[in-house]
Amino acid sequence: MARAVSTRTRIGYTAAAWFVALLIFFPILYTIITSLKTEQEAISGFSLIPSFTLSSFEAVQTQNDYWKPFTNSVILSVGSTILALIVAIPAAWAMAFSPTKNTKNILMWMLSTKMMPAVAVLVPIYLIFLRTGLMDTRIGLTVMLMLINLPIVVWMLYTYFREIPGEILEAARMDGASLKDEILYVLTPMAVPGIASTMLLNVILAWNEAFWTIQLTTTNAAPLSAFIASFSSPQGLFWAKLSAASVMAIAPILIMGWFSQKQLVRGLTFGAVK
């Protein structure tokens, strides 16, 4: 709706929108500011101007062994995403380009598995992990995260693949392409943007997962979400350091998130809103 409005109205709307936006963003902003303060500054009343010290960041990295959970977060989120893509790409391909009477039902059923509350299977999963020695291992948690996000991955890929006209794949077939050629030279290059978006969203979801990571890890495989949750009482980790740890935990994903707004809508609504 590009309509002519007076500059004054526009400034009014702009002021209101920015006010609301800054209010919503404030907790994050204030955390960033606090992370740049000294501990003393952090607890001495409200102030938006830090002394810009990086000492809290250094302290978190040295005292609390920050890099281990960070590495775990990277491995778990990227690993589970790649695993999910390996399983989901062929499935989504098949459902998009060779649909059967049941395709719709299968998709709905996949969606329904996402609706199972995690806590409902806490007991068996916990016991299985305990007895098979998967507890606190990266491999166990990677598979776990892959399974809980698989339906979203299949769905997102499916909605992207469906936008590729089937005639182009048929044209490739007429042009003498084998199935391998068809997937390699025609489908994949066309699907790359969709696959990339799916990947991005899935990494974000896996990175932020905080139920299973807390339940199934202690120290070895704990990613940032579990690591941070252990600070629920700030023993030895005070305001500035807590803020620094928080900033480091959310910064990479926040930036990725900014780039994936559109895909987020599609992915999280299972294509119901585009």
């Binding site: 919503i24 963003f25 907790p27 060779s98 299977v121 806490l122 294509g271």
Partner: protein, 289 residues
């Protein structure tokens, strides 16, 4: 394009995803169902025995159970109200011709990418802390006594935190829906003499109805499972004041080692979630064709 060769290949390619999800769905759920009928406590060395409906009765007769159900409902409804109403308002505002719309969007969407434990910690320590939080600073500025949020209003505090996390989601989806609204239709209505309020009620709201439904249903699924925020802030307390069903089951399983009881709670959670799921599937399913 359905030739026999493609069709059989397609079957092969679908299989791994389907089999994995089938196992993922059936095995743990079956085990939960089975355990829910057992006397089974990890601290009890005498092993397990058949319990019949005992775990369900026990759960049902536990006053904490009703607290938890009530808290779960209050949490879901509270957050939904704030996010849907707030989301519509903010979406309408951002959709206006404003300067720096891109940056405003980025600022508004950001809380969604903050992992739950961090969100909870930020609010607990930076904002709501009774002595060092921003709210306390504000209260002192006005000469009032700072509120100890998590002690005095535990559930409300958690609702505020969760609403903050989900407000961006609602806003973003409602904004997407809003932007697909046909501008010419709006202009036609304006030519017909419809005022801005009646345009909102008769055109904008109906257009967004579907997106609002989707927001409500998807959020409900996630809100039923709120866990980390409670763990980090109140631990479900004081008493059971901020314990929801998820947290109650977690406590039974992991702190009391009551496998049978936790399993029975899990089955109840499944039933609750399924009621929501049925509606969600209808809404999403319509979009498949």
């Amino acid at each position: 394009m359905a030739t026999r060769q493609t069709a059989s290949l397609a079957r092969l390619m679908r299989a791994p995803a389907i089999i994995l999800l089938l196992i993922w769905m059936i095995v743990p759920l079956g085990m939960t169902l089975y355990y829910s009928f057992l006397n089974y406590n990890l601290l009890n060395p005498t092993g397990t025995s058949w319990a019949g409906w005992f775990n369900y009765q026990y759960f049902y007769s536990d006053p904490a159970f009703f607290d938890a159900i009530w808290n779960t409902l209050a949490l879901v409804l509270g957050v939904l109200t704030i996010t849907v109403v707030g989301g519509i308002a903010i979406a309408l505002l951002i959709d206006k011709p404003i300067f720096g719309q891109g940056i405003v969007r980025i600022l508004v969407i950001s809380p969604f990418f903050v992992m739950p434990p961090v969100a909870a910690l930020i609010w607990k320590n930076m904002i709501m802390h009774p002595s060092y939080g921003v709210f306390a600073d504000i209260a002192r500025f006005f000469g009032a006594q700072p509120v100890d949020w998590f002690a005095q209003f535990p559930l409300t505090s958690i609702i505020i935190i969760v609403a903050w996390q989900w407000l961006p989601f609602a806003t973003l989806i409602l904004l997407t829906a809003l932007q697909s609204l046909d501008g010419e239709q709006m202009e036609a209505a304006e030519m017909d003499g419809a005022g801005s309020l009646s345009r909102f009620i008769h055109l904008t709201l109906p257009h967004m109805a579907r997106a609002i439904t989707v927001v409500i249903l998807i959020q409900t699924i996630f809100l039923l499972g709120i866990y980390a925020e409670i763990l980090v802030t109140t631990n479900g307390g004081p008493g059971n004041a901020s314990t929801n069903l998820t947290y109650l089951i977690y406590r039974a399983a992991r702190l009391n080692f009551d496998i049978g009881g936790a399993a029975a709670g899990g089955i109840i959670a499944v039933i609750l979630a399924n009621i929501v799921a049925v509606f969600l599937m209808r809404a999403v399913g319509k979009n498949l064709d």
